[in-house]
């Protein structure tokens, strides 16, 4: 049992993934056949010995609630600690958080009630796995006030909507930029950090009363520039993906077809946990042709599937040809239909002989429940 509590902030950046987040939070976006984005930070926290985890939600959190339930799949359903769902509309908040500080301010009661010495906080639109306990150990050792997790992964997308930092040899973060049109600083801040719980409470109390909303822009950038807080960096050596668009979501998914990339995100001794669905094994029927694909349980495959990710309960009918696609839960591609570079959201259907041929640079999204 580590002296760490976790906070997963899911209230931001709901519009970047377009149709995929039309009626779900980013945290609930499905990934890699059977997971939701929140499974990655949540499983990593559990694996790091964190047993008290608050999930801050804002909009469209019904699918997230349904997914997390009592937290049983993550062993967070116990009596003494576990998963704490923090919806909006509390005494201190009427529903809209302008930023992380507002969200924490609205949920200060939860932070005050918790007993752990450290807080690890993370967002859900960055995809990576992490040893949060190692970050806290480094944080303790360095005596920093705040430690930011960063990545040197050259594959991480760098464009106008990320946060980048400069880290000095002694571990101190000397510069931070937020949403620059052209990034200048070398490393990607993964928007995961650790801080002493008491210090977070004090910081939030002080800054919110001054009218601030954003932790990164309003607090961290200034503290780094003026050296009012000791901010350190902790390198996460694994891969990291910034899911800031449908294209980057598609690209990250497809990269998981590579065995080594997959091994980076899913290691046998540190499983990524998710909600279970009791599907039977997938039936590869006579005549099915499957190449280079990740396939969840409960699918029926009668057609051709190449370079695809199939979620649970997908049906690829006879004669259908599906290449370079992501097909989400319970969707159907019917007889002789052809699909290329498409993302089919849940329970969508492609009618017999239907054709949807897109390109790698601009994958088409078929919205949830739609029939083409």
């Amino acid at each position: 049992m580590k002296n760490i509590m976790g906070i997963i902030y899911t209230a931001d950046r709901d519009n970047q993934l377009k149709e995929l987040t039309a009626d779900r939070a980013v945290a609930a976006v499905p990934l890699c056949g059977r997971y939701r984005l929140i499974d990655f930070p949540l499983s990593a926290m559990v694996d790091s010995g964190i047993r008290n985890i608050g999930v801050i939600t804002q909009k469209n959190y019904n699918s997230l609630m349904d997914h997390l339930g009592s937290g049983r799949e993550w062993d967070l359903h116990g009596k003494r600690a576990g998963l704490v769902f923090l919806p909006p509309f509390t005494n201190n908040n009427v529903g809209v958080y302008s930023g992380f500080l507002d969200a924490i301010h609205a949920n200060l009661h939860y932070l005050r009630r918790s007993k752990e010495r450290y807080v690890v906080s993370t967002d859900t639109h960055m995809l990576f796995t992490a040893r949060f306990d190692d970050m806290v150990a480094a944080h303790e050792a360095s005596g920093a006030d705040i430690t930011l997790m960063y990545s040197k992964d050259p594959g991480t997308r760098r464009n106008g909507a990320g946060r980048y930092i400069q880290v000095e040899e002694d571990g101190r973060v000397s510069a931070l930029e937020s949403d620059p049109s052209t990034p200048h600083l070398p490393y990607t801040y993964l928007e995961a950090f650790c801080i002493r719980r008491e210090l977070l409470i004090t910081l939030v109390d002080e800054t919110v009363s001054q009218g601030y909303h954003h932790l990164t822009r309003d607090v961290l950038m200034e503290a780094i520039a003026k050296r009012t807080l000791k901010v350190h960096g902790f390198e996460n050596p694994g891969r990291a993906w910034y899911l800031d668009s449908v294209q980057s979501y598609f690209k990250a998914s497809m990269e998981l077809l590579n065995r080594d990339t997959r091994a980076d995100l899913f290691s046998a001794d540190r499983p990524v946990l998710t909600k279970l669905r009791d599907e039977m094994p997938t039936h590869h029927c006579a005549g099915a042709k499957v190449k280079n694909s990740l396939i969840a349980d409960g699918c029926i495959i009668e057609g051709t599937v190449e370079n695809c990710i199939l979620f649970r309960g997908v049906h690829i009918a006879k004669g259908a040809v599906v290449r370079n696609c992501i097909i989400m839960q319970d969707s159907k591609v019917l007889e002789d239909a052809e699909l290329q570079y498409c993302i089919m959201d849940k329970q969508a259907t492609i009618q017999p002989k239907g054709r949807l041929l897109a390109t790698e640079s601009y994958p088409i999204v078929v919205a949830k429940n739609y029939t083409v």
Partner: protein, 390 residues
């Protein structure tokens, strides 16, 4: 005081299942994997859950470790309840005495106080040997509407197979008038499925009397049912003619697995209204590589398929390396088939390894078996019908 229940199920899971040979050397039969992501006991447990029978006592005796760990709180079957749930019931000591379960009836007798806690009207007796989906609630309703003292589920088996079963001879109203255990010349082909509903007060009485008879084998089929018939109790047959398969032998276990690969399997495991639940590991989706060739297979999460797999079942976490061939076989969880190995008409048990270029099984004949955790050496040969491992 626990709340009264209409029906309590007792699942007999104590037998070794010695006819499964090496597969049950280290685990009890109900814990043997089936169909890629199930274990045999998932079928009766899921049937209970789907039938609204929410108190299930599981009687264990032989190698209970895996079974206990597998059942644990009962959560996968929605049987982790405040008022009811699943309970593992091993034999226990009372005062200075204590004994193993001597027979199926004795196992229930020793747990009379468990059943009495719920003051049930009916008790459902199940076994952990069969693959089937059955609504027990319908059977209990049949029992009730016929005012029966005992109801026995029967199914019609091919006449030539009837001598292997307990055969129920009935009158026109489904009343059982005669019971014959494995008759050489059967008068009917209504075979007992080993699924019974008893009115608890009646069964309680017969169990108690049977226990006092030193010559009894304390067995339902051999003692309890004949005694009830002899004393004119009302025994009724309940016909069940959907899919049902005894998986008590290597060949029948293999066949039942292969049944799932039919175009339209007689047992539908996709059915969302009557799910078969299992404790799953929650592994990453299966990966099927460019080098793979997969035809008519059931493959589940955690598998990594790089070789050829035809008409076979791959369970959780199975690896089939490039150039390996798996044909007409059942590969149980965590097993690995290495490069160039050939596995035909075989069952490869949990965590076993078939090393590079080894050959397991043959194109025809009996099923070859590689036991739990066994490692078939490189270039090894396991012939049809052979059982390899410790």
């Amino acid at each position: 005081m626990l709340r009264k229940k209409r029906c309590v199920a007792m699942l007999l899971a104590g037998g070794q299942g010695s006819r499964l040979g090496i597969l049950t050397k280290h685990v009890a039969k109900p814990a043997v994997p089936f169909g890629g992501k199930y274990r045999i006991i998932d079928f009766p447990l899921s049937n209970c859950s789907n039938s609204g029978v929410d108190v299930v006592g599981v009687l264990t005796q032989y190698r209970p470790l895996e079974l206990n760990a597998y059942i644990a709180s009962g959560a996968p079957w929605d049987l982790d309840l405040v008022n009811g749930g699943v309970f593992v019931l091993p034999p226990y000591q009372t005062g200075k005495t204590g004994e193993w379960y001597k027979g199926t009836a004795n196992a229930i007798y020793q747990n009379i106080s468990f059943i009495d806690q719920y003051d049930p009207d009916y008790v459902l007796i199940l076994s952990g040997d069969h693959i089937y989906k059955m609504d027990y609630a319908a059977m209990v309703a049949h029992h009730e509407s016929h005012n029966a003292d005992a109801t026995i589920a029967v199914r019609q088996v091919p006449w030539e197979e009837a001598p292997r079963f307990g055969i129920m001879n009935t009158d026109a109203n489904d009343n059982i008038i005669e019971f014959e255990e494995k008759p050489a010349h059967p008068k009917s082909n209504n075979a007992s499925m080993g699924v019974y509903v008893f009115t608890w007060a009646k069964l309680r009485k017969y169990l108690t009397e049977d226990e006092q008879n030193p010559n009894s084998q304390n067995d339902f089929g051999k003692n309890i049912i004949p005694a009830m018939l002899a004393e004119g109790q009302k025994l009724v047959a309940y016909s069940f003619n959907d899919y049902w398969k005894d998986v008590g032998t290597i060949e029948s276990l293999w066949e039942a697995n292969m049944d799932l690969l039919e175009d339209h399997p007689e047992i539908d495991l996709h059915d969302k209204k009557f799910r078969i639940y299992a404790r799953n590991l929650g592994m990453i989706p299966q990966y099927v590589a460019d080098t793979a060739k997969v035809e008519n297979c059931l493959i589940t999460e955690g598998c990594d398929v790089r070789g050829t797999v035809i008409h076979s079942i791959l369970s959780s976490g199975v690896v089939v390396e490039e150039g390996a061939q798996v044909i007409d076989s059942v590969i149980m969880p965590g097993a690995k088939i290495e490069k160039g190995a050939i596995v035909r008409r075989a069952i490869v048990a949990e965590d076993a390894v078939v090393s590079a270029n080894a050959i397991v099984g043959e194109g025809a004949g009996l099923i070859a078996v590689v036991g739990n955790g066994a490692v078939v050496p490189s270039d090894g040969r396991i012939s049809a019908g052979e059982q390899f491992g410790e």
